[in-house]
Amino acid sequence: MSGELTRRSAAELAELIASGQVSAVDVAQAHLDRIAAVDGEVRAFLHVDAETTLAQARAVDERRAAGERLGPLAGVPIAHKDVFTTADMPTTAGSRILQGWRPPYDATITARLRAAGLVIIGKTNMDEFAMGSSTENSAYGPTRNPWDTSRIPGGSSGGSSAAVAAYEAPLATGTDTGGSIRQPAAVTGIVGVKPTYGGSSRYGLIAFASSLDTPGPFARNVLDAALLHEAFSGHDPMDSTSIDRPVPPVVEAARRGDVAGLRVGVVRELGGEGYQPGVLARFNDSVELLESLGAKVVEVSCPHFGYALPAYYLIAPSECSSNLARFDAMRYGLRVGDDGTRSAEEVMALTRAEGFGPEVKRRIMLGTYALSSGYYDAYYGKAQQVRTLITRDFDAAFEQVDVLVSPTTPTTAFPIGDRVDDPMAMYLADLATIPANLAGNAAISVPCGLSDDGLPVGLQIMAPTLADDRVYRVGAAVERALEDRWGGPLLAKAPELAEADR
């Protein structure tokens, strides 16, 4: 039973728990067992605390026994990216500078999901402060891709994608600043969604780049992702950039899952050179599939998308150089060199030198430079202008079509260590995902097959701001058609991980 439970979808688990066939404690224990069995190999988690998890599960069972009406995901385990504050577990953002920090408060997302009865199964690994595309920038070592443990699981939310793909959790949260949900979802063969910016609260999310950071869901299927999306979304008065509008009907759209009559635009600029042939082949298959399902497919051009990557690498580092200034050893986290002889400034400098990894330092320096007086207009100012042009590209495209599609990533999962010495190569992993971050609109990655190397490929579907339901509708349609063709989910093709003896 226990092994079987971890293969179930979140919706199925919720149903089993609601009908009393299994308890939330059974489900939590099954996932804790799975983590114990495979996480030595996958290394998706930075923090697992069976007692805290089981206590949460027991509390859900008790609430249900007491007749309390619980949300549609009550009792279902969830893994949180270690960038969301949790009042009962440490939060490190993958950085040494926050090693052992226990936040005194819950992020809005963790608080809302707690209230909805989801059980926190642990905190997942990530690139330090969400800066990276492979989890190799984590201060705590890389996470491995369950499809091939010599390869990266994507990043920065690679711990979350690996945990869900390895059946250690049915659901996980992530954050997407330049593709950090969609890219890991694509390379691990699962579903990941970047909601509309402002649709999911950033309160309690340790900031990387404030104007881009977007919390979102990971799941093994589109409906589960929609259920999670709905559970944590909605206006948050604690976040000034949170949108005070009704949550788009994502669950309904995921259940509907049809594309008949829908206009689908293929983005000319996201494909071709730099994209792996196997990735392009699966993408072209998906486009044909959409057509066969009744969608009207046209090619559209977004001429400024080519400038998205450089603009992103000015805006995100600029914001991070300011956001990360607070890590100064004065109030929390690591403190280095405080031996009674050094000034506060020296302790700050020593702490930051030891506490931050090389990629974080690289981006702080980039951003500090880009914001400097005399350079601001040429760098940060210019990048903001590009951002406006990209938003206009989207606006123009969405006048012609309902959704845009592209490959989620240029390549499948690359080997661990392959790009660590080549930041530019690493940055290219987000080539297709960054435009939606700059414009703030919704996007999803759904599995669309295996490349020639036998590794999963993701299809990216983008919709206008606040039309998040559309990405679920199209994603669900593709998922249904492909699973019919394959006779099951793509993830079923992944090799079984060896379970360690316990």
Partner: protein, 501 residues
């Protein structure tokens, strides 16, 4: 080694140089909660008891703008005749300091909320229009306490403590345009500006503007140029000047000091300077030439502010009568000369007199008591007039007792004395001290007869036509009644009885 050029006497300095001033004023708004979180703002709370994840800058926390603070700044902007912009943003000012939780301050940079206003101030009967460049919003920092050093400064301290209670308290910064053509009145104009600004903000009710508690502080820019020159000189910025008197002294000192440097052929360094209350002098702080780059950029955690025109007009309609208008009104209502008005204002008696009038006293007597009797006592005790333990209502009550004839001025002074000594309200003091004008005609006549009998020599003089001698007899009556007789009536009775009327 540099030698310090000597100061040039003020008049001499002014004869050769023309000063240009600028004032940047920080005012803490008196909102119940902080600028970007719900923490309380009570002054003097135990350290770090008014803090939360937001104002401590904990990882993950986010600011949300306090609407009451925006209301406060818009009111200040309107009262300063500013234009309230339709759209603007907060900006981050980045620099590292232990009392700044985020190591950036949320402020405003090139998009302030209020622009292009003015404030008129008066010095020696002449009006100066001080142009306001901008009024913007920012958050206060925490407060460092350096322990163990001799100076209380960070150098030489064993360790430092930081109190974040003030971190995130809303601050309004009001920046003037360069103030020129003030001649030898430059220090007075600066002081008058600070005074008028304080009165204005107090009238708006958006801050208690207590300079001694730091809820209003001024940075003073001064530069000198040779008389007749076309280009302004290099300016210095004297930081955190914390009283009106210090504003005047800081300007005066900088004029004298800079003139000394220029006379000696030196050049003024663009720098921040510290003002010393004890000596009235300034000393060099951080040089602007080695100043940091604050790397301002728009605050991405906050949506832009876009105050609707309707809201701005609603706020304009709530503005109270402003100090200048009020002064014009009371001057007319009370029939004061310009000089009398200025004395009242300088004595800090305007509110007190107006409240006394509101409590029923006529303006003349109300002003007389506060400006004479009570001002004298305040000076004796070395306290502000408003700090005397007597209320305008009590002053009005004493005047009412005079008006109805139960007290005369002399007795009234005893009542003031009693009230100030804490013996109770006017009526209680009157009762306890038995102070009452003797108005019973029979009783007074008997006392007069007795006095005449006891002072035969004086009485004879009066009978002989020396009316002036009656003064001694009136004095005796007053003495016998312990001052409670109506002196004028006593005099009438004496003259009547001695056939001299």
């Amino acid at each position: 080694m540099t030698t310090t050029p000597s100061l040039v006497p003020y008049e001499e300095a002014l004869a050769r140089y023309e000063p240009v001033l600028g004032v940047e004023t920080h005012i803490e708004l008196g909102t119940a909660s902080k600028m970007f979180c719900g923490c309380a703002t009570t002054f003097g709370a135990p350290p770090n008891t008014q803090v939360c994840p937001v104002c401590l800058g904990l990882p993950g926390s986010l600011p949300v703008t306090n609407r009451a603070a925006i209301e406060g700044i818009i009111k200040i902007g309107l009262a300063l005749n500013c234009r309230i912009v339709e759209w603007c943003r907060f900006a981050r000012k980045n620099y590292f300091y232990p009392d700044m939780p985020k190591n950036y301050q949320i402020s405003q940079y090139d998009e302030p909320l209020c622009v292009d206003g003015y404030l008129e101030v008066e010095v020696d009967g002449e009006t100066y229009r001080v142009e306001i460049e901008r009024v913007h919003m920012e958050e206060d920092t925490g407060k460092s306490l350096h322990v163990g050093g001799a100076t209380g400064r960070i150098h030489g301290a064993d360790h430092s403590l930081v109190d974040y209670n003030r971190a995130g308290i809303p601050l309004v910064e009001i920046v003037t345009k360069p103030i020129t053509a003030t001649g030898d009145r430059a220090p007075l104009v600066a002081r008058a500006y600070a005074t008028e600004l304080r009165e204005l903000v107090r009238a708006l009710g958006v801050s208690d503007v207590r300079m001694e508690e730091g809820s209003m502080r001024c940075d003073i820019n001064v530069s000198l140029m040779p008389r007749g020159a076309a280009e302004w000189g290099t300016r210095t910025e004297t930081k955190n000047v914390n009283s009106l008197r210090s504003v005047e002294r800081a300007v005066r000192h900088e004029i004298e000091r800079q003139a000394g440097v220029l006379d000696a052929g030196g050049r003024i360094v663009q720098e921040t300077r510290h003002f010393h209350e004890d000596t009235g002098t300034t000393t060099s702080g951080r040089s602007k030439e080695e100043a940091q780059d604050y790397r301002y950029f728009p605050e991405p955690d906050l949506v832009p502010m876009a105050p609707s025109r309707e809201w701005v007009e609603e706020l304009r309609a709530t503005l109270p009568e402003l100090p200048a208008a009020r002064r014009r009104r009371v001057q007319a209502e009370w029939g004061l000369s310009d000089l009398e008005l200025r004395d009242v204002v300088n004595a800090g008696a305007l509110d007190l007199i107006e409240d006394t009038v509101k409590a029923g006293a006529a303006p003349g007597p109300a002003r007389k008591w506060w400006m004479n009797e009570l001002s004298r006592r305040a000076t004796e005790q070395g306290v502000e007039l408003s700090a005397l333990p007597i209320t305008p209502e009590q002053v009005a009550r004493i005047q009412a007792l005079i008006d109805e004839g139960s007290l005369n001025d002399k007795l009234a002074r005893q009542v003031f004395e009693g009230v100030l000594a804490g013996e109770g309200g006017p009526d209680e003091v009157v009762a306890a001290r038995g102070l009452k004008v003797v108005s019973d005609e029979g009783e007074l006549a008997a006392i007069v007869d007795q006095v005449i009998a006891d002072n035969a020599a004086a009485a004879d003089k009066v009978r002989a036509g020396k009316v002036a001698a009656a003064g001694a007899l009136v004095g005796a009556v007053m003495k016998a009644t312990r001052g409670q007789a109506d002196a004028a009536r006593a005099r009438e009775l004496i003259l009547e009885r001695l056939g001299a009327s």
